[in-house]
Symmetry: C2
Subunit: 503 residues, 2 copies
Amino acid sequence: MAEKITKRADDYSQWYLDIVQQAGLAENSDVRGCMVIKPHGYAIWEKMQRALDRMFKDTGHVNAYFPLFIPKSFLAKEEEMAEGFAKECAVVTHYRLKTIPGKGVQVDPEAKLEEELIIRPTSETIIWNTYRNWIQSYRDLPLLINQWCNVVRWEMRTRLFLRTAEFLWQEGHTAHATQAEAEEETRKILDVYRTFAEEWMAMPVLTGLKSAGQKFPGAVYTLCIEAMMQDKRALQAGTSHFLGQNFSKAFDVKFQDQNGKLEHPWATSWGLSTRMVGGLVMTHSDDQGLVVPPRLAPIHVVIVPIFRKPEEKQATCDAARKLAQALGAMPPDPWYNYEPLTVKIDDRDQHQPGFKFNEWEVKGVPIRVELGPKDLAQNACVLARRDLPGKESKMMGVPLAEAPTRIVGLLKAMQSALFERARKFRADNTLSVDTWDDFKKKIDEPGGFLWAHWDRTRETEDKIAAETKATIRCIPYEQTKETGKCVLTGKPSEGRVVFAKAY
Amino acid sequence: MAEKITKRADDYSQWYLDIVQQAGLAENSDVRGCMVIKPHGYAIWEKMQRALDRMFKDTGHVNAYFPLFIPKSFLAKEEEMAEGFAKECAVVTHYRLKTIPGKGVQVDPEAKLEEELIIRPTSETIIWNTYRNWIQSYRDLPLLINQWCNVVRWEMRTRLFLRTAEFLWQEGHTAHATQAEAEEETRKILDVYRTFAEEWMAMPVLTGLKSAGQKFPGAVYTLCIEAMMQDKRALQAGTSHFLGQNFSKAFDVKFQDQNGKLEHPWATSWGLSTRMVGGLVMTHSDDQGLVVPPRLAPIHVVIVPIFRKPEEKQATCDAARKLAQALGAMPPDPWYNYEPLTVKIDDRDQHQPGFKFNEWEVKGVPIRVELGPKDLAQNACVLARRDLPGKESKMMGVPLAEAPTRIVGLLKAMQSALFERARKFRADNTLSVDTWDDFKKKIDEPGGFLWAHWDRTRETEDKIAAETKATIRCIPYEQTKETGKCVLTGKPSEGRVVFAKAY
């Protein structure tokens, strides 16, 4: 814990890795490309899951579980998907090892599968193969199903949380009787994702449509939420796909509509993953360590009793326990997903208060309570907010009786402040660009989100990406109507789109 | 839904499959040995997870996530484990497919892994390989970590929930400074499992030690909870293993103790899986369909408004909504894990009440409320309890204002009644057997749990299993002290153990 965190300004990538490591969020495993999600990182993911899962259920969705394995031939049935995922598939070819005394274990050549199985990179194929038996009549629709699971996409260049061979996510797969209803679902989920990002993660996002070059393989179109990290690069944070009838046709799923006519149902799919933990780190953290928005904090409050003598320890620890109890007894609040506030008392003997303050700062605990003999003599304590710098963060002489209410107030204030700070950061790093020279210059320096006109062709999109490494992050829903000329080709454009370098 | 459920007495196996299918719990997938857990089945598993997860956290455990893949060589490091699991391992050998236009996809022979990866059948090896970096000092101990995940054990003969190639579970993996502390943890978790089984699942269990023939490969010893299904066969429902220093030695994990001496930590592991959903079905269900203990019910109450004319529909549905609201507003109760009661109103036009009653009975909803115009005229309703037969289940003329309190009372009464019924069933089907002839006869007819003396040798255990297909389910903690002679060999025995045929 005494290790230094690299400063963002010095080496952004190393800063990120330092935070992930020193806050105890995750680490690389000895399995290539796969990470271990450590308890503090997993606790954040659990909070995310709890919040999202409730939102899915409130919008009529239920959870289910489909197999990890997908027969190779299933993938081939939807051509675009096969093309899109074939290069990243982990393939199971055998189902047995044999032990050879003194020589360890070997793959048993006699246990070769007739058809290879791939580890799901996404589950549209296995799920639509199952839906064939579940959907006969319009009465069976809509099917609104979500699954929490692990998926594998064999990545060559990985980065903890942001890009790993195995990751955890939720994937929704819905089936509808009409195109309009499926498209409405696609939008509804985008709105769930936006609400989750903004209200829980305190992460402002653009919402909009992906260009053809960026859409999901197998989708008719893809909607996304797109966030800006502190190095001004974009992070695709969640996607919602309108799949049309692509999968219902590929897997021969039909239903009888109200007029007795056989139709293919319309589909959506949508996902949000542990990548979001990386997004959380990169949106809010600072040079002192992790900063977690209070609604997703695994520990809301740490109380550090300050003592030298045994009688001081006794008195301050007693007061700490009393305060912790009072905090734990605050009425359940939807703001925390109806869970009690989590309070930690750090009464370790072997460390000095300064060491403890630093450790909990690195771990991103939103509120620190300092409780020394002098505070106690006045029935008071000191509160410190994780997101404010140095002295500004401290509130001295807070009466202990008022502390629980004040703490809840601070948690809510911090949540809003983080969101506002991130929104300002994005605004400060968003530019309009009208010429190609300007584009090429500004995409590198100062960087950020570049709003520019584009002629809506794949060709131009690819050329811009090849020359600048910037991609179209989205065609945003919220923008002022404005026609113009494509920044590269000068051809007519119906409106600006957002370019950026992305994770 | 109108399909008949096979009677238990006619064909027990088919009865089980009928329930699983018609209650919408699970189905076989097109991937050999893998099941699809359908929404109603998954909802039961979610309730189980929620209850268990809280118990783990209340006993100081935290969750984390380790990779799905295990390098083949890791498995080889602990010989007994390698021997135990090698024959059931799914093996990943390649990391890429290639698409061949018009011919689908093929495994890319150039993308062969240097070292094959197996899909985790259990995670001791990958986790202890990770712990090596996490444990240096006694201050790093204990490590109390749990993981919720999927695992794969390639099974040749599968049965939904009870034995599938892929299943979901939790696996705890703890590390301790002393043997005594690790053994205490092994017992503490067994107690968590027993409490969960008895208080949440209403499933009485024996607790005890596994014999050498039944212990977990790699464990020093295995503790278990063991339940009796309605066909009198045993189900191993959860296991807690004391691993000694087997894995810390195999993976070279050492820590400095308080005296500065380097030691290998002591380990436990423990798991409970979706198999328990099958156990729930087989413990409580009847010839009418699924019976779910109320604390784990995805839907607690179904309200069926009964109407013919539109004005009747209006009135009864209004009253149903009002009652549902009152039920939803009952204060959160630890008895339901602080979650609101789940209430469903079945106001479908196309089905008759009898059809609806039957459907919700098949799905195991604990309480049905019938609300017709005549009931409404008296501001009353009819309550029906799922676990009681026919007319006995009905309470007529329950005042609507009292219904919420009465319903909660019935839910709690039903939970206790299910437990008592299962306990009685087990008692009625438990025998003491003292001679080998008696053993051989009674293990088939009447069957059940046979308490018999055993000479504590592996040889005798294996002989009995070979001749009768009965295994030692456990050496129970709770029994009267009694010495005797082994039922097979006549050699001295220190106490009876429990034999049964098992799933």
